[in-house]
């Protein structure tokens, strides 16, 4: 590899060839576009759930973790208390803690950079970082994916929310069917990990549907998660 002046940016601490760097940036752009598609759905279903455009955008910018955001609007849209929505969102967001452990060891960031890195530690940035063979590649992949996903996710949320608001009645648009379909899309890849995941999914759905007939909206979701994970432990 030939070294050129100015070839070291703060993002890449060296050791990467131009080809590696281009490949990482290409992947980061690609995943950002894919995430943008989720973002449009999220903006639209937020409006369907009764949130304002500003609330949808605040969730995307500040919570910035897709499945948790979807679950918050899913619970609120079904008539659940916002605090029940929050509890569901936090349970889903707990996996980011495990990602943070991995990324903390990989990125070796301190101070303000660490606070920033934590905010963008999600499924996509972690997945992109861990598959790179070198620490320099991991760091570039993490930050490039963070920039790409954060900007497109927030832009897409705004467009989705404005679009759904302009189009009118969410039920006539089928958006109440789009919400569970979005959850199914998020769930799908995880079901392929094995029989245990499928068992937990079926148990969770059954418990949630059954207890929905009696309990306030939002509570059955939390109950289902706890029961399903307990059942798995006994198995």
């Amino acid at each position: 590899m030939r070294l050129r002046p100015g070839s070291f940016t703060p993002l890449s601490s060296g050791g990467l060839t131009g080809e590696e760097r281009r490949s990482i940036l290409r992947d980061a752009a690609g995943i950002g576009i894919a995430v943008g598609a989720y973002g449009i759905s999220f903006g639209a279903v937020s409006i369907a759930a009764g949130l304002t455009v500003a609330q949808a955008c605040a969730l995307s910018a500040l919570a910035f973790t897709g499945a948790s955001q979807f679950s918050f609007v899913g619970v609120v849209g079904a008539g659940g208390a916002p605090l029940a929505g929050m509890a569901t969102a936090l349970l889903l967001g707990s996996r980011n803690t495990l990602y943070g452990l991995r990324m903390s060891a990989l990125l070796r960031v301190t101070g303000g950079r660490r606070l920033l890195a934590a905010h963008v530690t999600i499924d996509e940035t972690t997945a992109m970082a861990v598959v790179r063979p070198t620490p320099a590649g991991s760091r570039l992949a993490f930050w490039a994916t963070a920039v790409s996903v954060f900007s497109l996710w927030n832009l897409a949320t705004l467009f989705g929310a404005l679009g759904a608001g302009a189009l009118g009645d969410p039920r006539a648009l089928g958006l109440d069917a789009a919400v569970p379909a979005a959850f199914l899309g998020l769930l799908w890849a995880r079901l392929r990990t094995g029989g245990e995941a499928r068992f937990v999914a079926l148990a969770g759905a059954a418990v949630a549907i059954g207890t929905s007939l009696l309990l306030p909206a939002g509570v059955p979701i939390l109950l289902a998660a706890l029961v399903a994970v307990r059942l798995r432990a006994r198995r």
Binding site: Y38, L91, L92, S94, L101, A225
Partner: protein, 99 residues
Amino acid sequence: MIWAGVLLTAAGCYLLKLLGFAVPASVLERPSVRRTAELLPVALLAALVGVGTFVIGHRLSLDARAAGVGAAVLALLLRAPFLVVVLVAAGVGAVLRLT
């Protein structure tokens, strides 16, 4: 009230991420903790799918939503991208409401 939920959710989600950067790795790397963290989203998402598809208020309902989600399953089996899956569900739901 929704704003309070939005802001508390955002704060909580951020703190969960930061926690991973702050605690020693050994605490959360026990296999049982890791496995539970993997399965918790599965149970939560499945519960959200089930309730969102079949429940209205406190009763069961088989309506346009179930048809839309059924179409989404087909789309997923055909390996359609996420946005297509969501659009298919919305489209089927909307068409059934028209009739």
